[in-house]
């Protein structure tokens, strides 16, 4: 096992920035997921319409939710990296 790669995420500012980014992405995903649930509950006939290569909306939307979770995770990682760089510079100045 290697030693820990970086300690910057112990910084409170980075941590709060990460939490904010996380919440923002959470609400984005929540809206996407709520759309799926609303369609399934209120307009199931829309779900049965073929939208992509003969595959119906229910499967396409469901698969997008699964793929979307991975995309959201990647975006979160990228945002956290940005937060660390932004606040990391300030940290250097204080040292």
């Amino acid at each position: 096992m290697g030693k820990p790669r970086c300690h910057v995420d112990d910084n409170l500012q980075i941590s709060s920035a990460n939490a904010r980014s996380g919440l923002l992405l959470f609400f984005v995903y929540l809206a996407f997921y709520a759309g799926f649930m609303a369609l399934a509950a209120l307009a199931p006939q829309v779900m049965s319409r073929p939208v992509l290569a003969g595959v119906n909306l229910a499967i396409v939307y469901g698969m997008s939710l699964i793929g979307g979770a991975l995309v959201v995770a990647a975006v979160y990682m990228w945002l956290c990296g940005g937060n660390a760089r932004q606040h990391g510079h300030r940290l250097e100045d204080h040292r």
């Binding site: 941590s15 939490a19 996380g22 959470f26 995903y29 469901g62 979770a69 959201v72 979160y76």
Partner: protein
Amino acid sequence: MIYETSWTAIGVFGFFVAVVLAISFYLGAKAKSASGYYAAHGQIPWFVNGVAFAGDYLSAASFLGICGMIAFYGYDGFLYSIGYLAGWIVALLVIAEPLKRLGKFTFADALDSQFNSRGIKLAAAISTLVVSVFYLIPQMVGAGALVKPLLGLSHEIGVVTVGIVVVLIVVTAGMVSTTWVQFIKGGMLVVFCAILTAMILNRGLSTRPLTSGSPGIETPSHSIVAPTGDWATDRGKPFRQIEVAPGRIVVEHDGGTGWQRVQWSERRDGLLLVNGLPHGRGDGQADFEPVGRIFQLSQES
């Protein structure tokens, strides 16, 4: 089914358990602090942690359970796999960072440090125990069910053995060994699944639906029944009735791609017949298959 005890399989199982326990005890000796026990000293390399996470999510429940649910319940089973990922997003985006910032290792500790309330601590403890129990019971039953065909041991021995091994691994070294065990499991699952997928795809894919002429369909000596009653008046429609066994009639439909078996029901003398057999789930009874295709829905009067 009767399974024979396989000493080779038990040997391989024992070898893996011994290796994992050895790693666990070795790493356990190094865990001296709470952060070592709960958070693996924060020293797990990112790749190992990632594969361990994948191993977590490829558990028996998702791996076998969701495959089985999709096979038996179709789209309803698929919904569960979406729920899994949605839950993971909540843990990643909402729970993980604040928990880390508070320097706590369990959700109950984090709540306690924020609110300092005995009621909240009690509620968190009870909910943790309830969720764990309901999560562990199917896992243990699944382990017992797997041990039976794989090793030929009885169900009870499977449950107890797996329970003891899991408790030993977690208690000895906490998160360090748990993560490494999940890494090994996740890695093995991904590799062997890839091999299995390649082997299955190697057999080729076919999208042609099974017709009554294909092998495997129970119409060796079928005979087409002459249409009578309502069937006679529907003569123009591409349906035919086939007697597959004395008194058992199935219906086939030609939608332009050849004759295909369809599901049907009929009320005869007040008795509901489904696919030519009395409606029910016992022997000599039939129920609608949850997976299939529907050509038409009509309201039964």
